[in-house]
Amino acid sequence: MIQYRTQRLSLRFFLLMLVLLLVQVVLGVVLSLQQTDPTLLSGIMNFNITRSQHVNLGVLWILSGFIGTILFVGPILSKRELAAPWLVKFLFVALTGITIWNAVAIYFAQKGIAGWWLGQPWIQEGIEYLEAGRIADVLILVGFAILAYVVIRTFPNVKEWNEIHWGLGIGVSALAAMWIFGMFFIGRIDLQEYFRWFVVHYWVEGVWEVIHISLIGILLVLMFKANVKAVGYAVFWGVTLVWLSGLLGNAHHYFWVGTPEFWQFWGSLFSALEPLPLILCFWHMYLDAHHDRKPLVNKPAFYFLLGSAVLEMVGAGILGFTMTFALTNVWSHGTWITPSHAHLAMFGTFGMLGLGAAYWIVPAVRGIKRFDQRFGQLSFWLVFLGMLGIGFAFAIGGTIQVFIYRTLGLNWFGSDIYPSMMLYKVLLVLFGLVFLAGVALLVFDLYTLGHRVREPEAQSAAAAYARPTSGWSRPLTGFEAGIWLLSMWVFGFVITGGLLSFNLARVQSGDPTLPYVAAAVGYPGLLLATLLFVWRFLASLEAREQRSEAAMVRGPVPVPAPTD
């Protein structure tokens, strides 16, 4: 199944990723419970500790998935073994060690201990997303340097690099370079925020996005035998657009942190362009998945990859777009509307890519040709539905929060804001549990893949062929996919309009009708369109599989539908 021996080294990073993912999601559910009852675990594990762990683990498992995927595709892209496999083994030990140390270090925030020495916080530094102290920072930098070294040494001579080499090569180097900006204590809050977003924005919307585009590209090549040149062309334009829009797009973090007003112009203008590469990636997904019309070999892997491209467009592209203008951001900033975007974008784009890669790579490394794919498919739907629900709860809860907090100026969280948001806080817990169920299932599935007895192929031929290949399962045309894409954007514009309407005198004098109606139409509409589109896309692929099987007159294979 694998051509190069050192590709095996990727497996351990995926197994680590799954453990960290499970812990992160359990902590996420704890956080949602603490949101409904802030006295829960108060004094034992205060909300800020839980949240720091949740955020840090989220970053760490996504990185672990990236590393695993890069190590798997590195030899394929280079047509040779990984350079310095002992360094990769060391990297794994280091990553595990850093994760454990950082989890312990964050707990010191409960006692207000940062470990100040030479003016720097060595244990933990209590800045959102960059909670890790200098000890962990330095070790992480070493880890990134090792990764960059291994990747670039493995790749062929620079002259032979194609677009995917360039994307990954620049990606792993910039990963390390950007990290350095987060390694200094800064007294000014405006300057601190300025450099903090160097790390966070340029990582997520620069480096990670580039790694994401490159990895999606290579995985599409592997899955569908898509044309390397065509994918490379898409990767080039994807990367170029990400950077052209994202470099100045960082300005959308500089609206209200004490930096000058002119950033509002540049940020609104350039970050409005940031969805372009995401739409391009989304569209290429459609093209590549449909170009050869062969059956899907590995359904869960493709499901998660599709989820990644779609949620990237919806969570990062559309929801990011709605709040990227100074006139909408002034309202959404600092409220629950932000995490609705953050969860869908972060887990959707990068998390789902890691999971899709895991479903492709874990069986490949273990040498499993066929496995029971139903657990993987079910876990996809649970995770996908759970995350859409989480985004919905945050978004509607956040819209109410904006009105109560910013428009009415009621600032007592315990008595004004909690009660008004309570329904959505409870929904957050419920969808969080759905998500947790999906994650638990996929962790179990991937860990035991190949160790379980395969399911008997008992389904009758009649059942397999009974599925209609018309209606909902008819082949998805480019026109129809375009209509779906358009409808998502229309709902995105409705949401944007709702946020804009907070500026109206009518709303500011206490009438929430417009923003509430826009949110009630926009968010559920967008999320339902997303859900239905993915269902429709996958149904058309299922039907294609049956058609091709019928044509080949092969033995029946149980084909579970994604949802019934």
Partner: protein
Amino acid sequence: MDDPQVRAETRRRRIALAGLGLMAIVFIILSAFSFVSSRDQITPDTVVYAGEHGAVDGKRVFQAYGCMGCHTIVGNGAYLGPDLTNTYEDAGPAYLAAFLPSAGQWPTEAALRVQVQQPQQVAETGIADLAAYYEAFPGAKERIERRGGLTSYMPNLGFRPDEVPALIAFLKYTSLMDTEGWPPVPKVDGLTFPQAAGAINTASDGTEDVASTGAAGAESAVDLVATGERLVTQLGCLACHATDSARKVGPGWGGRYGTVTDLADGGSALIDDGYLMTAITDPDAQVVAGYPAGTMPSYATVLAEDDVNAIVAFIRSLEHP
């Protein structure tokens, strides 16, 4: 390099890089203009609270406790508690000084009054009485009226004594910052807004005034204890002291009367009426071992001698639970 396709690719990459370089130049120019001193953006090294506490030290405390894990500052952080950017200009330093050491309970009016009258507060704000303080910091009045004496969701973090004024200095700095009009100023008053007024909590039992309790002197011992109990509630003493022996911010009261306690200076003291009176009027004179000095304010200026007697009587009445 003769392959036309390779040449086209190289050219494409060069154009993309040139575009990126242009963006980078624009970004660097904008960044340079963002931090020039002529912008007159406030910097933390110039902000001092109560004469000696610097805002940069406060930022270190703010980071050490991971405040951004529950609150937002300039809108960034977590969403469990309110944004802290303008808390200082809204509620004022005395309110923060009354709240932060015992964050588990919202300060009562009496607790705020004690802080307002502290010399370092008077020096900082130039205000010596509560009415003027309310006028300068209307957010404090609203907080006292609505939540005074009630339980808060924030845990007692056990700040060290110098950390509280440092944090206040940091919040003073963020209040002074120009954040381009964020957060937006509400155009309506939510508290009097008809649709909201029915649902929101405006009642509080913490607003009763401590004034004129001097009549306590002639009362019987039982009345004295009752007066003391009323006083400790109004003053917000119970935000820091438990009526059993449990440690909150300060030592618990229950069962301690008549015992000998170790002191922070290495000595020991018998807890009797005299000790307790000193502890109320001059808290740093004899600090119990294991507790930091400088946390409790002096109540000498707000309590008449009879009030102190009543509180001592109440503490004396607390048996071992």
